[in-house]
């Protein structure tokens, strides 16, 4: 079922419930103005919703009831038990339609409004088409022909006149209910600026559908289970997420207290062990369940791109078509809502820089219309979003030149780099291959901004390129944004968190294994020479590390790069809720975020990529 239909069913059920309660109250107290307003609004909104999803039969049926209620509101009619009954019958029909939509995922094909409309028309329901005289029929047929001759000018007059003529024919045939339906169809035609609505209504009437004035079907018991969904405001879910986060922090505080107890009164500490383990497991499950509610399909952001692509491709004069796959893949709302800008930038780049000019494509025998693929898929705890083009691929030699020109790397460093590493330079701050700054692709943001935005979401972005055949930008994003397993390390008298997924191993090495290369240090671990950074000196917590026989290092792997981090001590592992940095800390390059520890202190979490730069 598409998201519109789903929302329509949800809202309609709520409105039916509201309207039913109002009608029952009005039956007892017919002059309750607040109830009257409420039930009127419920019917009105039901009608509006039916209009949005193009459920014309329901729109007409509810419209008839709404008119009945409007007459009461304006004092033309009084609220009688019979009118309440008619309105409830209408709601009952609506519920049956909603059930059918729930079962099939589609609007009911055979839905007819005439039985309901007839209830609200004065007099008993009548067969109309059969009662039409031959003259009446030919007049109606003439109106259909008139409406079929669609021209952009003057159609409004035709709709008005066709509706009036048709209504007269029906009035003389003695059928008020169909006249009303036609009038409504005419109104819909006017507001939708589409004469076909009225044309179809008259057509149906001629086809004799009006004869099918069927009695309301008895409410069949549901034989199939219906998928029930509860509509919850996202603010409430966010509140639940926050509460769960605080619960996790409280749990960590308990863990901290239990450890103190354990050192001072081991017997008591042992008592706490099992309940704490359960608490740990339960909060983890709770968090998982809560985060699972806060998801959106990626279509939420993908569906904005077909139009964006058209605009960019028109502006740059490079025809391109968008193929979207996996839009139903879900991810945390925060992730989905923050993906638009990075994707926009990447798609812009693909067209501006990736796709060749038309003449070049023709010479290469590539299709004139370039293909941009936007695809999402779930990979374990991650969501992968890829933007691919069939353009010329990234020009590696050109990236080298620019990196040199701009002084991002020296010639020696560039020579040592693999192609993959060279391509990754486009994410460096200050790099831009744009020869000219265009309105669309140059707004002062480079690929560095894309990577920064994605890393803020605890994800990453990489480029895969195939010379001559295209480029793929691959976003790897967490499914949910909150829990980060970390390891605590101490350096220079302070504690820091390191994302655990970056930790390869921790070990003690002899000081003799460290050698100096220029001002930098390297260490050989398991036959691999890797750069060594002292955390305390890198963060300027002290001038130099004390001379020691044994050095504690954490071997990390970030973006495929190994690094060794010299620390004073290695602490515990924990799962924390990482918060983005705020205030004074926000500008610090080596920090990824912060979290609050069990004892209430703030633990800063390192951005290892920045530490090793």
């Amino acid at each position: 079922m598409n998201e519109f239909l789903e929302q329509f069913v949800l809202e309609s059920r709520e409105l039916v419930e509201q309207a039913t309660a109002d009608l029952l109250a009005l039956e007892k107290a017919p002059h309750d103005a607040a109830r009257m307003d409420s039930v009127f609004r419920a019917f009105h909104t039901l009608k509006g919703g039916a209009g949005i999803v193009d459920f014309i039969a329901m729109e007409h049926a509810v419209h008839a009831a709404e008119d009945g209620l409007a007459a009461v509101r304006s004092g033309e009619r009084t609220m009688t038990a019979a009118l309440v009954g008619d309105c409830l019958a209408c709601l009952d029909q609506v519920v049956q339609w909603l059930d059918a939509i729930d079962r099939t995922g589609e609007l009911p094909a055979s839905a007819a409004a005439s039985a309901i409309i007839a209830r609200f028309a004065s007099g008993a329901p009548q067969e109309s088409a059969r009662a039409l005289s031959a003259d009446g029929r030919s007049v109606l047929e003439a109106q259909v022909a008139l409406l079929d001759a669609f021209t952009p000018q003057g159609w409004e007059g035709r709709v008005t006149s066709a509706a009036r003529v048709a209504a007269n024919v029906l009035a003389s045939a003695g059928d008020g209910s169909w006249a009303e339906l036609l009038q409504h169809a005419a109104e819909t035609s006017m507001s939708a600026r589409d004469p076909r609505v009225l044309r179809e209504a008259i057509g149906k009437l001629l086809a004799g559908e009006a004869a099918a004035v069927a009695p309301l079907a008895p409410h069949a018991p549901d034989t199939e289970p219906t998928a029930r969904t509860l509509r919850v405001d996202t603010a409430r879910i966010d509140a639940l997420v926050d509460l769960t986060g605080e619960l996790t922090i409280a749990r960590n505080a308990m863990g901290h207290a239990a450890k103190l107890i354990d050192t001072q009164a081991p017997a008591l500490g042992a008592l706490l062990k099992d309940p704490l383990a359960s608490l740990h497991r339960l909060t983890a499950e709770l968090q998982h369940a809560v985060l699972g509610m806060r998801v959106l399909p990626l279509d939420h952001v993908f569906q904005r791109f077909p139009r964006v692509l058209r605009e960019i491709s028109a502006e740059l004069g490079k025809p391109a078509s968008l193929v979207v796959e996996g839009g139903d893949t879900e991810a945390d709302k925060v992730i989905v809502e923050n993906l638009f800008e990075p994707l926009l930038h990447v798609i812009r780049n693909a067209i501006a820089h990736g796709i060749e000019p038309a003449a070049e494509r023709a010479a290469l025998r590539k299709p004139a219309v370039a293909a941009i693929h936007l695809a999402a898929s779930r990979e374990g705890d991650h969501v992968v979003v890829e933007v691919s083009d069939d353009g010329k691929g990234v020009d590696i030699a050109r990236i080298r030149e620019i990196a040199l020109e701009r002084g991002l790397f020296d010639a020696a460093a560039l020579t040592a780099m693999s192609e993959e590493e060279i391509v990754d330079i486009v994410f460096e701050p200050g790099f831009s291959t744009a020869a000219t700054v265009t309105g669309l692709s140059g707004r002062g943001v480079g690929m560095d901004a894309v990577r920064a935005a994605v890393r803020r979401l605890a994800g990453d972005v990489r480029i895969q390129t195939r010379a001559g055949s295209g480029t793929t930008i691959r976003f790897l994003l967490p499914f949910s944004v909150m829990i980060t397993p970390i390891m605590v390390v101490g350096a220079g008298g302070q504690a820091f968190g390191i994302p655990l997924d970056a930790v390869v191993e921790t070990l003690h090495i002899g000081a003799g294994n460290i050698s100096a290369v220029g001002t930098a240090q390297v260490v050989v671990i398991r036959d691999r020479t890797i750069p060594l950074v002292s955390l305390a000196t890198a963060l300027a917590l002290r001038q130099a590390d004390p001379a020691e026989d044994q050095v504690t290092v954490v071997v990390t792997r970030v973006d495929g790069q190994y690094g060794a981090l010299r620390v004073d001590r290695v602490g515990e592992r924990m799962e924390v809720m990482m918060k983005p940095l705020e205030g004074l800390l926000a500008g610090m390059p080596a920090l990824a975020g912060s979290t609050i520890l069990g004892d209430g202190s703030v633990l800063l979490i390192l951005d290892l990529a920045a530490v090793f730069q």
Binding site: F8, E11, R41, T45, G48, I52, S191, R193, Q303, G439
Partner: protein, 130 residues
Amino acid sequence: MKTVSRYTILIVDDSKLARMAVNKALNTLYPEWERLEAANAEEAVAAVKQAAPDVALLDFNMPGRDGLELAAELREANPKMAVAVVSANRQQQIVDRTSAAGATFLAKPITEAALGQFLKAVVQDRESRA
């Protein structure tokens, strides 16, 4: 060179479905515009005070206050904002009151064409004054 200017549009309707329908049309018409949504009059007033949107679409039929009263209040808070009142009941009286309040009447459900026409006029008006 054309730059994509970003307007902020406020969509006020107590039906999420109706807001979704407007959003869908905006995805085609002006995907880069920033959207704000409000499900009732209070949220709408708060949004206007906080974000000063360029355009507001107000549902006529809402609990508590009708769209026209709300239009007047929002215009007071943000006189430069363009306002459209949206209603399924195309009664002449409502249409007249809407234009008297300096707002545009749009029939509900909103069609992409009608919304596009209204927003285009808003953008042209803005740019001619800029």
